[in-house]
């Protein structure tokens, strides 16, 4: 029995569900899209961004990736729920919240 989280779909039979509903891997939530909760979305103006990184730790959804050089990249809209904390803390007005057109 592999007991992979990815196989524990809502169709899983009782014989095959992981015992105790325990999961034997970390970070299986990574496949869950929460970006579709968003009504507004942050947009980064790269030309205004000074890479001060104040926006990174305030994100509740780990949606601001930081690369190996310590520079932030564009938003991860797969997770971003559009709370707007990042835009509010940006000292340079580099992040604007816009209506999310899906």
């Amino acid at each position: 029995m592999s007991w992979k989280a990815s196989e524990m779909t809502p169709d899983v039979k009782w014989q095959d569900i992981t015992p105790g509903c325990n999961i034997f891997e970390g970070s299986t939530s990574a496949v869950v899209e929460t970006g579709d909760w968003r009504t507004t979305k942050p947009v980064l103006a790269l030309d205004k961004c000074k890479q001060c990184l104040l926006c990174v730790p305030v994100c509740p959804d780990m949606s601001i990736p930081v690369d190996q050089d310590g520079k932030r990249g564009d938003f991860n809209y797969f997770y971003c729920k559009g709370c707007g904390i990042c835009a509010a803390v940006c000292p340079f007005g580099a992040i604007t919240m816009v209506k999310d057109e899906k």
Binding site: I23, L53, P57, F78, A88
Partner: protein, 311 residues
Amino acid sequence: MSSDTLKENVMREERLSGGHRMCAGCGSPIAIRTVLRQLEPGDHAVVTGATSCMEVSTFMYPYTAWKDSFIHNAFANAAATCSGVETAYKALKKSGKLDDTYKFITFGGDGGTYDIGFQSLSGAMERGHDMVYVCYDNEAYMNTGIQRSSSTPHFADTTTTPAGKVIPGKLQKKKDLTKIMVAHNVPYVAQTTFIGNFKDISEKAHKAIYTPGAAFLNIMAPCPRGWRYPTEKLMEVTKAAVETCVWPLYEVIEGKYTLNYMPKNKLPVAEYLKMQGRFAHMFKPGNEWMIEQVQQEVDKNWEYLLKSCGL
């Protein structure tokens, strides 16, 4: 580490994953990811979670948002559960069955910490397990729909202390849990929240994790829904809590108090209260006495803290 710049801090490994179902703008995942980022590379953690918003949102079967091992047991017993895990670690280490380094971190909301889990927390701290208990304090039972806890501030409007015609919100003052934890004589206790470059919270989390023995971290982690402020204002709210001395930043190492931030101009509490809908009734004409009373309480606590810090 304490010398980390913000850049170094955010380049550390993230151990909470996206895809969790906490509300947009929730303070609790910010607290969790910041604390877990302070684990040193190569060190593992077993995280314990009390039943809470955080727990049901981070481990809804089959999706765990925890990169490390995680155990949720019940509402009242996160600290006891963690002490069992930590003790098993000692037993397995002793028998030579384990060579990796693990750290033991518990997260609970104020309901699971100040109230129903208080006994279990007190027991675990007194026994001195090598663990960190982190309370993400959002000052009410948010998971069940914003009911008052012993951490709810004086006069706050919650669903079990509604601001009514006769009773104006919660009649009791907030329990000072941080001081109660200090009274357990554990080596490290600190109170913090999200401020600026996250230096305060990060340093405290690192100290709490790497101080041998039991440590307690109380993190104000606002709930935009329960506190009724727009989600984007989170960092303004925590800043106001600190600048008004409603939530001072301090730590207690081996019983010695240190104030970590002295506001240049201590702001009136109204500056903090007015941002949040849960205090809106205090600003109605005729209710000025409520704000005055809270101001007196905050002043008294602040003076006591300054004295404790030798200031």
